[in-house]
C-alpha cells in the first residue's frame, strides 16, 4: 500500500519535473503524451490502491520533513476510503482534461509550461487528498494555490490575466491566514499537527477550542472554495485556459476546502456552531452564485458563478455532518461541471474566441450536434432534472438541511431551495440563448476537425453526469446506495431522518427544476429573440468587488501612502540620516584624537591609571 500511494504521488511530480527539465527539447505531441501518461499511471496506482483497501484506514509515513523542539512535521498520509475515492476522482477527471488539453493547446507555444503546471497541480491536489499531517497538507494547499495562480495568469503577456491571477492568489491567501492560525492552535492544543492525532484527542478537547479551530478552518475553506465572503476571485479566475478552469476552478481545487471539512468531520462533530455556520454560508453562497449567474453573458463566468453556487451545496451537506452526501455532490459536480467547462472551451474556440452567449445561437447547435448533446447532458445534471446525477446529489444536500433540527438549518434549506430553482433558470437560459437563439450579430464559426476530436474525452463524463446518481440513489427508490455503504465504516453514517426526508425533498427538487426550465423557456425561447439585459448589480457579482475595493483596498492604499511618505521617509529615514550624521561627527573627533602626539597617548595612559585608582579608592571607602 505504501508503494502504491507513493507511486500515485510520484508520477505527477516526475511528470512535472521532466516537463520542466526538457521543456525545450520536447515536441508538442511528446509533451502532451508524457503529461497524460503520468496522470494515467497515477490513476492506475489510485485504482489499485482502492482495490486493495479494506475498511480500516492506513496510516503511512513517507519520511520526516522537519523536527525541532519536540515538534515534528512528517510526510504522513491517512489513506482511508474517503481519500481513496477522492484520489480516483481527481486523477480520473485530470486524465480526461489532460487528453482534452493536448488538442486544446494545439496552437499555444508554451505547451511544456502548461503541462508542467498541470501535472504539478495534480501532485499537490493528491497531497491534499491524502495528507494526514496538517503541515504536509498545507504544502499541498499552498501548492495548488500556486499552480492556480500560475495557470490563471498563463497568458501572461496580457495584464488583465496577470491581475486575475494575482487577485486569486491574494484572496485565497486571506483564507490561508485562517489555516495557519488553526494550525498553530492545533499544535498548541494537541502537540501534534496530524488529523489522526487531532481525532484521537478530540474527546479531551474543550468545546471552545474545537469551535475556534473549526471556525478558522472554515474560514480557510471559504477562501479556497470561493464561498462568501471570499468568493469574488473565482469569476476572474476564468482568465486562464478553459481546461484549467475545468480542472482547477471547478472539479478539484475549489472543492479542496469542502474536502478539508470532510476530513475534519470529528472536529466539526463536537463543534455544532461551526457546522451550522458552514451550512448557512453554503446555502447563502449557493443562492448568491445562482443569482449572479443570471446576470452574466460570458459563458465561462456563468459556469464560474455556478461553481460557487454548487460548492455552496457541498458546504451545506458538510455543515450538516453528512460527509458521504457532500462527497457525493463533490463527485457528481466534478463530472458534470468539468464536462460543461470543456464544452464551453469548444464553444469558445468554435466561435473564434467569442465568450458572449448572445452571439452564438442555433447555428452552433446545427454545426456541432455532438457538442450540443454533451452540453445537454451536463446542463441536465447541473439543473438537477430528475434521475440525473445532480438531481440525486443536490436533493441529498437539501434533505440533510431539512432533516436537521434548528432554525439555522431551516434557513439554509429555504435558501438552498430557492437557489435550486434559480439554477435551473440560469442553466436553461444559457442553453436556450447559446444553442437556440438567432442573434442579430452572430460570431463567425470556425470549422476545424480538431474541435470534433476534442469532444471524444467528454463522452465518459457525459455518461457519468447522467448516470452517476445511481451510485447513491435515495432510500425510497429501493436500490442499493453503494457510496453510503462503501463509506459506512469511515464516516458517520447517515441518520434515518434524512432518508425519510429525501422523498419529500426529491419531489420538491424535481418540481423546482422543471419549473425553472419552463420559466427559462418562457423568457428565453428563440421566438422571443432574447437580448442581453444591460449590465447590472448581478453582472458585477452584487457589488462584492466594489465593496472590497471601497472598504478594504482604498483605505489600505491611503494608509500605505501615509506610512510610506510620513513614517518611512520622514521619520525612519530621517532618523537614520540624523544618526549617520551624528556618528560621522563623532568619528571625526575620534579620528583627531587617534592621530595624536605621543605625549597625548602618555597623558591618557596615566590619566586612565589615575581615574581607575580614584574609582577604587571611592569604592573601597
Amino acid at each position: 500500500m505504501t508503494t502504491l500511494v507513493a507511486l500515485m504521488l510520484f508520477f505527477p511530480l516526475a511528470g512535472a519535473v521532466l516537463q520542466a527539465a526538457f521543456s525545450r527539447s520536447l515536441s508538442r505531441a511528446a509533451s502532451g503524451t508524457l503529461a497524460a501518461l503520468a496522470i494515467a499511471a497515477s490513476l492506475a496506482a489510485a485504482l489499485a490502491a482502492v482495490w486493495n483497501l479494506g475498511v480500516a484506514p492506513h496510516e503511512i509515513t513517507l519520511g520526516q520533513w522537519l523536527a525541532f523542539d519536540g515538534f515534528s512535521a512528517n510526510f504522513s498520509i491517512l489513506y482511508n476510503r474517503l481519500a481513496g475515492l477522492m484520489t480516483v476522482t481527481v486523477t480520473f477527471v485530470a486524465l480526461l482534461i489532460h487528453l482534452y488539453s493536448a488538442i486544446y493547446m494545439r496552437e499555444d507555444t508554451s505547451f511544456a509550461r502548461y503541462f508542467c503546471y498541470l501535472n504539478l497541480f495534480v501532485f499537490f491536489m493528491l497531497i491534499i487528498a491524502l495528507a494526514d499531517d496538517l503541515v504536509f497538507l498545507f504544502m499541498g494547499w499552498e501548492g495548488v494555490g500556486f499552480c492556480s495562480f500560475a495557470l490563471i495568469g498563463f497568458w501572461h503577456e496580457e495584464l488583465p490575466n496577470v491581475d486575475a491571477g494575482r487577485k486569486a492568489f491574494l484572496m485565497t491567501r486571506v483564507g490561508d491566514l485562517g489555516y495557519v492560525a488553526a494550525l498553530a492552535i492545533v499544535i498548541a492544543a494537541s502537540g501534534s499537527a496530524s488529523i489522526t492525532g487531532l481525532t484521537a484527542q478530540i474527546d479531551a478537547m474543550p468545546t471552545a477550542t474545537a469551535t475556534l479551530i473549526g471556525f478558522l478552518f472554515l474560514f480557510a475553506a471559504c477562501g479556497k472554495s470561493a464561498q462568501l465572503p471570499l468568493s469574488s476571485w473565482l469569476p476572474d479566475a476564468m482568465a486562464g485556459p478553459t481546461p484549467v478552469s475545468a480542472l482547477i476552478h471547478a472539479a478539484t481545487m475549489v472543492t479542496a476546502g469542502v474536502y478539508l471539512l470532510m476530513r475534519l468531520e470529528p472536529l466539526l462533530a463536537i463543534a455544532p456552531d461551526v457546522g451550522a455556520t458552514a451550512a448557512v454560508i453554503g446555502a447563502a453562497t449557493a443562492l448568491y452564485g445562482a443569482a449572479c449567474a443570471m446576470g452574466q453573458r460570458d459563458v465561462k463566468r456563468i459556469l464560474a458563478y455556478s461553481t460557487i453556487s454548487q460548492v455552496g451545496y457541498m458546504f451545506l451537506a458538510a455543515g450538516c455532518g453528512d460527509v458521504s452526501g457532500a462527497f457525493f455532490h463533490l463527485q457528481a459536480h466534478a463530472f458534470f461541471k468539468s464536462l460543461l467547462f470543456m464544452v464551453a472551451g469548444i464553444m469558445i474556440q468554435a466561435a473564434h474566441e467569442e465568450h458572449d452567449i448572445f452571439r452564438m445561437g442555433a447555428r452552433l447547435r446545427r454545426a456541432m450536434p455532438g457538442l450540443f448533446l454533451l452540453f445537454a447532458c451536463g446542463a441536465a445534471a447541473l439543473s438537477a432534472l430528475p434521475l440525473t446525477s445532480g438531481y440525486f446529489s443536490k436533493g441529498r444536500t437539501l434533505a440533510d438541511a431539512i432533516a436537521h433540527p434548528g432554525p439555522a438549518y431551516l434557513l439554509a434549506f429555504i435558501l438552498g431551495a430557492v437557489a435550486a430553482f434559480l439554477t435551473a433558470v440560469y442553466v436553461f437560459r444559457l442553453c436556450f440563448v447559446a444553442f437556440f437563439s438567432d442573434p442579430a450579430d452572430p460570431a463567425r464559426l470556425l470549422s476545424d476537425p480538431e474541435l470534433a476530436r476534442m469532444e471524444r474525452p467528454l463522452w465518459p463524463l457525459a455518461a457519468l453526469a447522467l448516470g452517476y446518481g445511481f451510485v447513491n440513489p435515495p432510500e425510497f427508490m429501493g436500490l442499493k446506495p453503494w457510496l453510503d455503504v462503501y463509506l459506512a465504516g469511515t464516516v458517520t453514517p447517515l441518520p434515518p431522518n434524512v432518508e425519510h426526508a429525501e422523498f419529500f425533498v426529491e419531489m420538491i427538487d424535481a418540481v423546482l427544476a422543471v419549473s425553472g426550465l419552463l420559466l427559462a423557456w418562457l423568457l428565453y425561447r428563440p421566438a422571443r429573440h432574447p437580448v442581453a439585459a444591460p449590465a447590472g448589480a448581478l453582472t458585477a457579482g452584487l457589488g462584492l468587488d466594489a465593496f472590497y475595493r471601497t472598504w478594504i483596498a482604498a483605505p489600505y492604499c491611503r494608509l500605505s501612502a501615509r506610512l510610506w511618505r510620513g513614517v518611512d521617509e520622514d521619520m525612519l529615514d530621517g532618523a537614520a540620516m540624523g544618526a549617520a550624521t551624528g556618528l560621522l561627527t563623532l568619528s571625526r573627533v575620534a579620528a583627531r584624537l587617534g592621530s595624536a602626539r605621543p605625549s597625548t597617548t602618555l597623558t591618557t595612559l596615566l590619566g586612565a591609571a589615575a581615574a581607575l585608582l580614584t574609582w577604587l579608592a571611592l569604592r573601597l571607602t
Binding site: 597617548t601 595612559l605 581607575l612 574609582w615 573601597l620
Partner: protein
C-alpha cells in the same frame, strides 16, 4: 629531563630558530632566501608539537602554541617576498619575529607575574625593532617611536601593578596572588589591567594604534595586530579568570565601561578614515572590545567564545593586512581607499581574500567573524551583561559600514586608471598564506564545530 624538554619544546624551538638564523647570517655567501625558509620551519615546529598533543602539556598551552605558530608562519610567508622586494629582508627581521613569537608564547601561557612581564617585554621589544625595520621609511621609524615611548610607560604601570599584587599577597603565582584578595591586590590588578589594556589597545589607551599600524609594513602590522593581540588577550583572559569575586565586584563595572568605550571608539573612529590601514587598525581596536567583553564573562562560557574569536580574528586580520601587503606597489603600501577601486576585477583572488576578511571583520555570515561575534555576544548575554551586549551589537552594526565601504570600492567599475593596478608579484608563499587565511575564514564560518569541538576537548583534557 626529557619530560621537561618535551614540555618546553615550542619555546626552545623558537629561541633556537632565532639563533640559527643569526648564525647562518655569519657564514659567507648564505642565500637571502634561506632566512624565511629557516624561520618558517622553526615557526611551524610549535604547531606540530601542539598537534601531536604531548603528555603533560596543558590543553590551553597547546592551543596558544598552535595559534601563535600559525600566526608566525603566515607572517613569515607574507613577509618573505614583500621584504625582499623592498630591501629590508635580513637575518635580523626573521630572528626578531621568531623571538617575538617566543615572548608571546611565554606571555600567553604564563602562570607567574614575572614570566608575564618578561614575555610581554620580550615580545614588545622585538616588535619595536621590527616595526622600524624598513630604515628608509620615515613613517615606519615614527611609528616605532610612537609605539615604544608609551609602551615603555605602560610596562612601568604593569610592573608597578604586579609589585602591588606581590606586596598585597606575598606570592608571584598569578592564581595564588589574586585569590588572596584585599584592596592592595585589587589596586595592583587594576594597574596591571591598564598595562595589558594598553597593549590590547583598549580605549582610552588605544591612541597609539592607528599611527603604528599605518606606519608599519603591512605584514608586520598583521603580526602586530594578531600575534601580540592574541597573546595579550590570553593574559587578560587568564587574569580575569583568576580574579577574586571581591576584585570582580570592584573592577568589573570599570572593565565594562572600557569594553563599551572600546567598541564604540573602534567602530566609530573607523567611519571617516580614508586610509585602509587605519580602518583596519580601528577595526582591530573594536574587536578587542568584544574580547574584553568576553573576558568579563570568562567563567560563563566567555573563555571558549574568546578563544574561538581570537582564532577567527587572527585569520581575518592576517588576511586583511596580508592582502593589503600583497596588493601594494613597491613604493609604500597601497593605503588610500580610493586606490582600491576596481581591484576586484584586476586581481580577483587577492581582492577576494581582502573582501572576505573585511566581511568577516564586519561580522557577516557565512564567515568566522559572524560565528565569533555570535558566541561572544551569547556568552555576554548568558553572563548577564545585557546592556553591554546590546550596546556592542549596535556598534557592530555601525562597524558594517566601513567594511562595506572598502568592499564596495574593490568592486567599483570606474576609476581603476587613477592608480597603478599592477602591484609587486605576491610570491608563492604569500599567495598561499593569503588563500589559506581566506579559506580558513570561510571554513570556520561554515563549520565552526570543528574548532569549537577542539576547544572544548582542550578544556576537558587540560
Amino acid at each position: 629531563m626529557t619530560a621537561q624538554l618535551v614540555l618546553y619544546f615550542p619555546h626552545l624551538s623558537l629561541a633556537l630558530g632565532g639563533l640559527v638564523i643569526l648564525l647562518a647570517a655569519c657564514l659567507r655567501r648564505t642565500p637571502a632566501t634561506l632566512f624565511p625558509i629557516l624561520a618558517g620551519v622553526f615557526a611551524a615546529l610549535p604547531g606540530l608539537w601542539s598537534l601531536a598533543g604531548p603528555t603533560g602539556a596543558s590543553g590551553i598551552g597547546c592551543y596558544y602554541a598552535g595559534l601563535l605558530s600559525v600566526i608566525t608562519l603566515a607572517t613569515v610567508a607574507l613577509t618573505a617576498r614583500y621584504a625582499a622586494r623592498r630591501g629590508f629582508a635580513g637575518d635580523a627581521l626573521y630572528g626578531l619575529v621568531l623571538w617575538s613569537a617566543l615572548g608571546m608564547l611565554l606571555l600567553a601561557a604564563s602562570d607567574d607575574w614575572l614570566m608575564l612581564i618578561v614575555g610581554l617585554e620580550l615580545a614588545s621589544l622585538c616588535l619595536y625593532a621590527v616595526v622600524a625595520s624598513r630604515l628608509s621609511d620615515p613613517l615606519g621609524t615614527e611609528a616605532a617611536l610612537k609605539y615604544f615611548l608609551p609602551g615603555a610607560m605602560s610596562l612601568a604601570v604593569l610592573v608597578f601593578g604586579a609589585a602591588l599584587v606581590y606586596a598585597g599577597s606575598g606570592s608571584l603565582i598569578i592564581a595564588d596572588s589574586l585569590a588572596a584578595g584585599g584592596p592592595i591586590v585589587s589596586a595592583g590588578l587594576a594597574l596591571a589591567l591598564i598595562g595589558i589594556g594598553f597593549k590590547l589597545s583598549l580605549a582610552p589607551v588605544h591612541l597609539w594604534t592607528p599611527d603604528v599600524y599605518q606606519g608599519a609594513p603591512a605584514p608586520i602590522a598583521a603580526f602586530l595586530s594578531t600575534g601580540s593581540k592574541a597573546a595579550t588577550a590570553a593574559a587578560l583572559l587568564h587574569l580575569c579568570a583568576e580574579a577574586s569575586p571581591e576584585a570582580r565586584e570592584l573592577l568589573w563595572p570599570a572593565l565594562a565601561g572600557v569594553a563599551g568605550l572600546t567598541m564604540a571608539a573602534g567602530n566609530i573612529g573607523a567611519l571617516c578614515q580614508k586610509s585602509v590601514k587605519r580602518i583596519l587598525a580601528y577595526s582591530s581596536i573594536a574587536q578587542m572590545g568584544y574580547i574584553a567583553m568576553a573576558a568579563m564573562a570568562v567563567n560563563d562560557g566567555g573563555g571558549e567564545a574568546a578563544l574561538f574569536y581570537l582564532a577567527a580574528f587572527a585569520l581575518m586580520d592576517l588576511g586583511a593586512f596580508g592582502a593589503v601587503g600583497l596588493l601594494s606597489g613597491e613604493i609604500g603600501d597601497r593605503d588610500d581607499v580610493t586606490a582600491y577601486q576596481g581591484l576586484g576585477y584586476v586581481h580577483p583572488w587577492r581582492a577576494g581574500a581582502l573582501a572576505i576578511s573585511l566581511l568577516s571583520l564586519a561580522g557577516l555570515p557565512p564567515t568566522a567573524g559572524f560565528i565569533g561575534k555570535f558566541l561572544v555576544f551569547g556568552a555576554a548575554l548568558r553572563a548577564g551583561y545585557v546592556g553591554l551586549a546590546a550596546f556592542g551589537i549596535v556598534t557592530a552594526v555601525i562597524g558594517i559600514f566601513y567594511a562595506l565601504r572598502v568592499v564596495a570600492a574593490l568592486y567599483m567599475q570606474s576609476g581603476v586608471e587613477a592608480h597603478p593596478a599592477i602591484p609587486a608579484p605576491a610570491g608563492p608563499a604569500g599567495g598561499l598564506a593569503l588563500g589559506v587565511m581566506a579559506a580558513g575564514v570561510l571554513a570556520l564560518g561554515l563549520f565552526p564545530q570543528s574548532l569549537l569541538g577542539a576547544i572544548a576537548a582542550l578544556f576537558g583534557g587540560g
